[in-house]
């Protein structure tokens, strides 16, 4: 589904502090599977995730979603792809404070101009399915870490994306909450979603729901299973 060909990414290129986060990655991510990018801090996991999710462009190399090259797409098309194909769960969740959880969930759907009533129903249904229905009207800053993460997952799913991307999803959770999260991943997989995660948590990498683990070190792919 997603193919990466000799992808390289540099930060501060041409400056004294130039840093190559990725040094030639060739990879295929299969549709409907759960893939984890594993590696120590600074190995390039998050950078790789942002390139796959069209949040950044590679310095060289190509990223293809099905047959279309998405690494060189004009920005207007990237926005559409980000909105319709990918759902993001960020490490710090990035919920907007001052508005309710359900409003946070609905935000990515606003630019699509969907019927507000239908949208609200879908947002509530998603929150119910993730067991956070009672927290729908709570402001984002009042939520616990686990609740905030589930709101972030509901937000990622509001546009019914094919691919859900999660950056270090269990980094801020205790073991019980991490197990609950993996249960949600199992549900997403059963629903036919492709899930991409970064993690160095053994609980995530060794769980049965994960189909594919890609190990990175110093910006290079060292192992893939």
């Amino acid at each position: 589904m997603i193919h990466l060909t000799d992808v390289r990414k540099a930060f501060n290129q041409g400056k004294s502090n130039e840093f190559w986060a990725l040094k030639g990655i060739d990879l295929t991510v299969r549709a409907g599977k759960v893939t984890v990018f594993r590696g120590p801090s600074g190995s390039g996991k998050t950078t790789l995730l942002t390139l796959v999710g069209c949040l950044a462009r590679p310095t060289s190399g190509r990223v293809r979603l099905r047959d279309r090259d998405i690494s060189g797409l004009p920005e207007r098309f990237l926005t559409d792809i980000r909105r319709s194909t990918f759902g993001f769960v960020f490490q710090q969740f990035n919920l907007l404070k001052g508005i309710s959880a359900v409003e946070n969930v609905m935000i990515p759907a606003y630019p699509l101009g969907r019927d507000p009533k239908e949208l609200s129903e879908r947002a509530h249904a998603l929150m119910d399915s993730l067991d956070i229905g009672p927290k729908a009207q709570s402001n984002a800053e009042w939520l616990s870490g686990g609740e905030a993460q589930r709101v972030a997952i509901a937000r990622a799913l509001i546009n019914d994306p094919e691919v859900v991307i999660a950056d270090e999803p269990t980094a801020n959770l205790d073991s019980e909450r991490s197990r609950q999260f993996l249960g949600i991943v199992e549900t997403l997989k059963q629903a036919g979603k492709t899930v991409l995660m970064t993690s160095h948590d053994p609980m995530v990498c060794d769980t049965a729901v994960v189909d594919h683990v890609v190990c990175l070190r110093d910006g290079q792919l060292v192992e893939s299973r």
Binding site: T5, D6, V7, R8, R57, P58, T59, S60, G61, R62, R68, D69, S71, G72, L73, P74, E75, R76, F77
Partner: protein, 348 residues
Amino acid sequence: MVFQPAIIALLLASAIGTLMVVASVPFAINVLRRWDTASGSEAQLEMEKRTYLVSTLLVVVLASELASLVLFVFNADRMSSLFVGAMCAVGTLNVNEFGFPTLYLKIVVFFAAGVWLVLNHVDSRGYDYPLVRVKYGALLALAPLMAGAAGVQLAYFLGLRADVIASCCSTLFSGNTQVTSDKLATTAPEAALSLLALVLGVVLVLGRRVLKSGKGAILYALVSGVAFVVALEAVVAAISVYIYEMPQHHCPFCILKGEYGHVGYALYLPLFAATALGLGGGVAAPSARIASLAEAGPRMVRRCVGASMAGFALFAAVTVWLIVRSHLILIEQSPVNAILLNLSGGQP
């Protein structure tokens, strides 16, 4: 003389515009030589990123070129009070030998910039930069044109002398000399208006065909160009006379003056916009054959042609209104009868 706000604005706009376009030329050459979307090389990705910046800058610069033509004409008209003998923009443009060449070059730049903006807009609708080479190839042609226009304009403004006795428009548009402008004035108003009606009719028929079937946009563009020339001829030969209500006054610039309600702008703005959009529609038409523009290309062509038709229709409506409200009876029968008679070979 150069230190007039409008002149400073025009000089700055053309200098900055030319600088921007000339600075984009190396990038344009790079695109023409090295653009290859199949490659994932660093240089290719760098070009893909930079094309946003260059295109955005060029859009601003070329849009300002469109506005600068209007400002140039407005300024020429306003400055006529500074020169002995000048009654309108014609006098100002005649102060030295660079006046009219500047105007003509600015008109050419106006249409070239309009076409480039349409090309750029169509290109931005395709996900694979479908017209990027065409766009930057066209920029290579546009750069010397803009630089030439800026240079001639600078020479014109630097050569403005208040002690020069300028020619009044009556010497150019009286119908008594052999210069081209005067020959335009001698064209019979019936013939000029008949031809105008005929060409505008053809424009609308062709435009309707483009809107319905999506075909014929290139022909529409060509006829738009013809309609532009015929419309200017009609302005000199007949429309201006109806506005002034003086049979011997054919100046196409005095109609811009406040004493005639600046009605010239109501004629020229739709006409220039309609022509530019018509040309743009024709240039955009071949893009429909490109897979990534299969939907957006024809849609853009229809929009351009539709807007162009509206512009020509507005020009026609203003013309009819000016003739109807005029107290001058230039043609004994009503203009409609005269047109019909002319078309059928009879005498009005």
